[in-house]
Symmetry: D2
Subunit: 455 residues, 4 copies
């Protein structure tokens, strides 16, 4: 069934893909996966210190020239916007979720590789959102520059003084100017949207409260587009993640003080923010998870390299000759491969049954992958001794990214809560079946002349 040659099966970009997925890859997907792999291995990973050097030299909030150049080149080579689903027509390369997931894993090997292919968060989620819910005029104005890679966007939802796992509490206020009803006035504070300090960033997609007194709590909020240069809208500070500024994109803390935007910037319609929020996030979570797996593979390779480092032989043995380390390496490999199966299954479930039916499998990925990935990377750091914590390896940045993904889109506990409640809804069926067992047992007692006994 599979199109893969035996050379393909040994290709480092394809060999870890489980057989059931290998056989589903179209020739185009196989070609793209190999090209993404070549791109990441040749243009991205070796250039990581160059990017650091350019950030150090040209300013931390300026996208390095190298990345701009790679984006141009990727576009030319057809490696841009690979994530776009078929519904985008000609713009889309036509990959299934399953096929794109294989690309995303490879992209994850370098922190900013996805960005060179315009496949990074939150861009991908924002593009899907704008494409799905904007009118034509809005699409021309806001979506096209993102698709073309001419500018970038941020998503703004979380607030400092609200429980972020309960979006109905969002408090940032949108009011209409009483003197000019076609102008909206925004007031409030927000956390985490990408940094305004980067010139590429042009637009914020903001979720805020426009009708606090609506009796239906799901209709109180609107989603609007806020251009970066809106007066009254400013970034207070960069929010660091475990001390990393994540420049040049980074995460900002924002204040809106009577920021004014045209009412034409409302997406889909007033009070429809929750409709929009529903449609977001599904595939994005899978992308995050696959990239994390790719990154963790790279961490694992570093551990293998350390385990066989001829300079590191305590008591005359390679680190990898100590069987405690052999067992650790095995445990990491087993867990990591299990995670891949989980995420690929989620991707395929979405392909076959749609995003909604994939909800559980997505949650499964979201809950299991970041925590386990962080644990594996932590173990890799430990194998490097003190150096594992320093900039001598990329491991600390990898760990931090995994820790970040774990909390992004809500804490594990919130997701587990949802899964658990869904499970409890199935309890009734099992209870019925249990009673049926009892009924049948009683029947069999008669047949076999055994006393019916209950506990």
């Amino acid at each position: 069934m599979t199109q893969l040659t035996s050379a393909d099966l040994d290709h480092p970009a394809l060999s870890r893909i489980p057989p059931w997925v290998q056989e589903k890859l179209s020739p185009k997907a196989v070609d793209l996966i190999k090209r993404v792999h070549y791109w990441v291995e040749t243009e991205c990973i070796p250039a990581e210190p160059i990017v650091k050097a350019q950030l150090a030299k040209n300013g931390r909030w300026k996208t390095p020239t190298l990345i701009h150049e790679l984006r141009t080149k990727a576009k030319k080579e057809g490696l841009f916007n690979l994530f776009l689903p078929k519904s985008f027509g000609k713009l889309s390369p036509g990959l299934t979720n399953l096929e794109y997931s294989c690309c995303a894993e490879i992209m994850g090997r370098c922190y900013w590789a996805a960005q060179t292919m315009n496949c990074h968060a939150p861009e991908t989620g924002n593009i899907e959102l704008l494409a799905k819910y904007c009118n034509e005029e809005q699409k021309q104005k806001w979506l096209m520059p993102l698709l073309n890679g001419e500018s970038s966007s941020a998503y703004s939802m979380t607030e400092p003084d609200r429980a972020s796992s309960d979006a109905t509490q969002i408090n940032c206020r949108i009011t209409r100017d009483p003197n000019d009803p076609e102008t909206l006035i925004i007031n409030g504070r927000k956390l985490y949207g990408n940094a305004m300090w980067n010139d590429d960033l042009q637009v914020y997609i903001l979720m805020a409260c426009s009708d606090p007194d609506n009796p239906n709590q799901w209709k109180r909020h609107s989603t609007v587009i806020v251009p970066k240069n809106t007066p009254g809208f400013r970034m207070v500070r960069n929010l660091t993640i475990m001390g990393y500024d994540h420049a040049p994109e980074g995460h900002g803390e924002y204040i809106y003080e009577n920021a004014r935007i045209p009412a034409a910037n409302i997406i889909l319609g007033e009070g429809r923010a929750f409709e929009i929020a529903q449609g977001r996030l599904g595939p994005g979570r899978i992308h995050h998870c696959m990239r994390l797996i790719g990154q963790t593979e790279r961490a694992y390779e570093l551990a293998l390299i350390r385990a066989t480092d001829p300079n590191k032989k305590p008591r005359g043995k390679f680190i990898g000759e100590f069987d405690s380390n052999i067992e650790r390496l095995a445990s990491m490999r087993l867990k990591l491969d299990s995670l891949r199966l989980v995420v690929l299954n989620a991707a395929y479930t979405m392909d076959v049954h749609g995003n909604k039916a994939g909800r559980y499998a997505i949650a499964q990925s979201k809950i299991l992958v970041p925590k386990t990935a962080a644990d594996i990377i932590d173990e890799c750091m430990q194998m490097y001794g003190g150096q594992g914590l320093t900039q001598h390896t990329a491991l600390p940045e990898m760990w931090t990214y995994a820790r970040f993904v774990r909390i992004a889109d809500g804490p594990d506990a919130a997701h587990r809560h949802q899964v658990g409640r869904d499970q409890l809804k199935t309890a009734g069926g099992f209870r019925d079946r249990h009673e049926e067992y009892q009924r049948r047992y009683k029947e069999l007692c008669g047949k076999w002349d055994v006393e019916y006994e209950t506990f």
Copy 2:
């Protein structure tokens, strides 16, 4: 692609099967899965207390009449020997490993359900072994009764005073009678083969040392067939597992004292025991793992039932309303579904690439499933409070079975060791790639005018 109707997708025997597997099931497999499900739910689970009653009444080492009856019925209904691979021709139902795995999960829901379908361990492994390595005469004599379900067999390898993870140390001795070279004399002690005390058991497949001085340590051992009633061969005691006697099959401790068998009972040839051992175990491990998943699903259902038990409402709330329990139920579900993906992937890898290529995926299943299954069942017991440890539920037996499977076929550590050593063999490739990154980085330093820096 899938043949499943939407009614099929909701069928309890099919709904947990991931989409990529569902679509691979032949109509025959779908039908068998449903029939196995009906069989287990109707004939087996409700009959569990009957089996206990018959053991109590008729003697612990006599196979209960109910099970004999069900075996006869299963044979008539075409539910016998489902595990037999296609190579068995007409005797085989022709299921792939993947398809049979779906059956095995369901069988696992009841401890002895597989036995009613002649699909239980060690029978399945023994049948495959005899079919693969016996000559025609041996097959007629020893294999056919097993295939027909007329008698059962045991496998005997482990010894009390040897490291069981190193089979080259097996010490039980086979010598030829100097006066009658066509007679073999066996002396030694063995652990764990099924109990001789059960009348159904007729034959032991024994691995022992026939040529201790052979310079090639892989040619020192032979595999022979020992009929139960061989004089000088006796069972010292039943070996309990966590206190359970696992009657009426159970596990024995054996002594061979000048036990004599014909040389015609040697399988494949003298000194070829390791060739035979190689060919065993692969699919059997997967069967064990799938059955364990099925059993754990049932434990999980019991937890859901407890969580919604109207008699158990501490401080006025259902146990399932406490969000710590909601999270626990979610965690168990997530892990259990991940395990299924792991084992099904192993089964499919064997289908596509053969048992040998599936070695890693089998090890992955073997290491991850029993430990996690035992942990999940332990958590289910905990949700039942004190009752969870008593015979009021089947949970203690389930936990014990999971714990047993964890150690059967060798401790986790031995398997991890093998996986880890295989991983270390790949380190060289990554080291090379790393050097290639450095070379390319140096090149890019030139292009971008950045100082080349190493750590």
Copy 3:
């Protein structure tokens, strides 16, 4: 400060005791600890197979003759009732909780050693209860035989259809006979009190509902003494724990059908069951935990013995030469010694500040010890390979006891809940202190000319 000689410090009964405890041991305690050690090592552990043989021969529910003999001998030698606190006057050996804890650890090395010294559960808790709450007449009748070791007792609280972590739901009913108000009539079902089938057992201490309509839910229940031979009171079955019958004491399932007892059997007064329940359990939990530590030490010794077993050398190395096992042995040792510190601290806290003040430290022991002990024993079983699960070692019985103690007196979760709620009550104080930090920070901003910044 310490009285211990350097020979004492090397004594196996004393060497694991931390220095701060060693120095607090009175000469009498040191002497008793050594004698208990000698007793357990010489009279109990080597006799374990004898006890099994006597149970097999004389019937599982008859206390073996050997144990009766040892009880008589222990009484003669002053090793009886060691747990009795000083308040018992001459009957008590005068050990502090701390000192007795050191004895209890040693007793725990053999499952039934405590019983030979009349220091076993539930006897110790029952004796304390009766001593504290009975009137003189009751004491003569019910307490003295227990203190003298002439008979034994059970405690009966849990019910099958009630949440056992919420005692206010106890449903077994006590009513007064309308025709004879000095007679109580009992109806209901109970779980877990020791087995009536053992002749030594004479009396049940029962908690039941006597006044269901009392507006104060803490006054609805009474504690009464039920003689074993009360008509209408019967044991339905032995409740097994993970398959073990725990004979000859065991755990029963009981039915009360119009069982009649004199009203004089009410302890302390009608409706005062919760007052009594409050006073129970504290020291008992500590005893359980220390015995569990002693048992786990013995499991650990077995692991060390296996690790150096010359018959078990996979690939030519002792199991203990594999550094993964070296690390495992270290981890177990570290955890086990930490547990001892936790329990000894709880014991001493009770000595100094009383049982109530020790509540948190007791909970800490109760939550941490059984779970960790079970995990350590499980690891020891794993080091034994398959044999670790069979009767070839005592490990399966040890694991089962640890698992049982974990659930006895309520599931971990209930105890954690209590601790967590107590912790949350302290949050206000920390919130205040945090505000004080802010106030002071503002002040320092002035002094150092730094801008005051808040998040």
Copy 4:
């Protein structure tokens, strides 16, 4: 026995100290503990943002003025050099290890509080080393400025291309100038000593190889004092820890290129580095662990504050009302209090039996505390949602410090290895005792007329 009043027992600096330690505190220690507490709570914690502001304003590698001022003040108030053992005579406050541990926990609440009291690493270890092994002249020149707090020092041992857990491999070379034997020439690379960029730092204590061909591998290395301004000695870069520069002390990467120092700078004598290394580290590890406990207590307080934050009420409930969080808070509390018992026991063991006898208890602390502390802090971050990873709380810095301490002084695995090997040495004794059980069992078989049975 204890001197503490009931007011003392409620004092936040004393209330978490277990009773057995409380009673051992001298009045002087009680007074110092309270004063250290006041100091940290009033002068340090509220000043944390001031220190950050001064670093931002005055340069990251300049010790902030506020800290210099506090050091002067602490010295005046008798809060300087509290760690100094009694052997330092008048310079020492005379605290036992146990008493000082209670101070260290409090110091740990603020990252740099210990520094204001000259009780920080590596200063304390260096001071002890110089005091113990220097001659008088060296002491005057190098030790006194450290004791007086006039300058600071670094310790330099680890190398980039050697296994740091095996110090015999240290490769940095010391040779004598053939033309001037009183001058030593140093060549090599080192990692992790505090940053040369800070003006306060004046001196490096260096371990290097002076006699590579000595047949005794323990005599090949020497410890020497290297003044910072030595030509040929330079810092290549700051080594970040999980991205943090840990300025203004930080960690450096160093190169020695023909750096020349007088031979008079050799400590103790040529080839005696291992003697010196032996004497280091013991108490220092305990200090690290206690500070980490103090820091983790503060993380825990933050979690409690979040759990009761009126702005954070998902679905209308405080975070602390979800019982999964209640259980989490309980688990953290239980573990944290257990760690304190472990470290205090180690401190007291050193007080009573000396550092060498305390080796095991120190290792127990070193292995258990940092890992568990990091896990607890991680859980606290998780309770804060996204904010938990940002600079909005000190949690990320705390986690990083815990992770750093885990690897400092060698990875866990190396310590576990040592503990495990020591345990294995005790196996023989247990094996003997086991045989004694068998002998006695056989004897009892005779007495009780039971068949002797072995497995």
